[in-house]
């Protein structure tokens, strides 16, 4: 897992993506631009964050889930 450590905590890149989502729903391209992470890493990371229940996907946009919001508070 690139975005979530085995202990369930987000890695540095995972935290960057979650923080980018604090401002509202975003596309992977917008998150890549805001975080400076390569787009392929963002796409892969968003899959992980969604599977871990930290982000919700609606079509091509992602937003923080309640669990994700609590985690980065």
């Amino acid at each position: 897992m690139a975005c979530i450590s085995p202990d369930g905590k987000p890695t540095e890149s995972g935290s960057k993506m979650l923080r980018a989502l604090q401002a509202g729903s975003k596309s992977p391209e917008e998150i890549a631009r805001d975080t400076g992470l390569p787009l392929f890493m963002v796409r892969s990371g968003l899959r992980e964050l969604s599977q871990a229940g930290l982000a919700d996907q609606k079509e091509d946009r992602y937003k923080l889930s309640e669990k994700g919001a609590k985690l980065i508070k």
Partner: protein
């Protein structure tokens, strides 16, 4: 015959869609589609902790900023485990100060290696040879290079091919032998007699109607 096919897998060709994959890498699980919209250089190496491969990884890292300026991502591959890849890139950094910035696929079951024809049993039945697949933003294979186990790749040529492909896509031209950015490009040959006659009046530098060059 079947045995050879089992050992080598599918041999992809230029112009075909790049075979899809979902693989464990040093940067997490990556799918081919994660790279959509970017150019991608997918390259294989025979094994971690080997001398020629180490020089190549350092060389790929050196051209990484130039590739990024051109919108190109790098993705390595060998049939080693992800733990081996991690140990190797850490060792390279410790011994040379070079931090490998791109992901490496751990293709333990050879799924990707077989889909891309990276195993050449005449060289090795277990390791991948040195392949380079240049895949465009639409995920079509645009260039394939194969190098033997004993010959390290030429980074200048890889950069030159990227520049040539991007110039071709942007300007609908071809590039002549030994072309470098800034050199004249080849105007696509005319395909009717009328166009051939007109071509010679268009002010290009022409050897004849079928070989005309222009400055971009």
């Amino acid at each position: 015959m079947e045995e050879i096919k089992e050992q080598t897998g599918h041999m992809p060709r230029i112009g075909e869609p790049a075979p899809a994959f979902e693989s464990v890498t040093t940067h997490g699980v990556l799918k081919l589609e994660d790279f959509k919209g970017s150019w991608l250089i997918l390259f294989s190496h025979p094994a971690d902790f080997t001398p020629v491969c180490t020089t190549e990884f350092i060389a790929f890292t050196e051209i990484h900023p130039k590739l990024q300026k051109r919108g190109v991502e790098l993705l390595g591959l060998s049939v080693d485990s992800v733990s081996s890849h991690i140990a190797w890139v850490r060792n390279v950094e410790e011994k040379t100060g070079v931090k490998i910035p791109f992901p490496i696929i751990a293709d333990l079951n050879k799924e990707v290696a077989l889909a891309y024809g990276m195993i050449h049993p005449g060289q090795s039945k277990t390791e991948t040879v040195r392949c380079v697949f240049i895949i465009d933003p639409n995920q079509k294979i645009r260039t394939i290079l194969y190098y033997p186990l004993t010959t390290g790749r030429n980074m200048d040529e890889i950069l030159r091919i990227i520049d040539a492909l991007q110039t071709t896509d942007k300007n609908a031209v071809a590039t002549p032998a030994n072309w470098r950015p800034g050199d004249k490009v080849v105007v696509p040959p005319p395909n009717t007699q009328e166009m051939a006659e007109e071509r010679l009046k268009q002010g290009y530098e022409c050897i004849d109607w079928y070989l005309c060059k222009k400055k971009l």
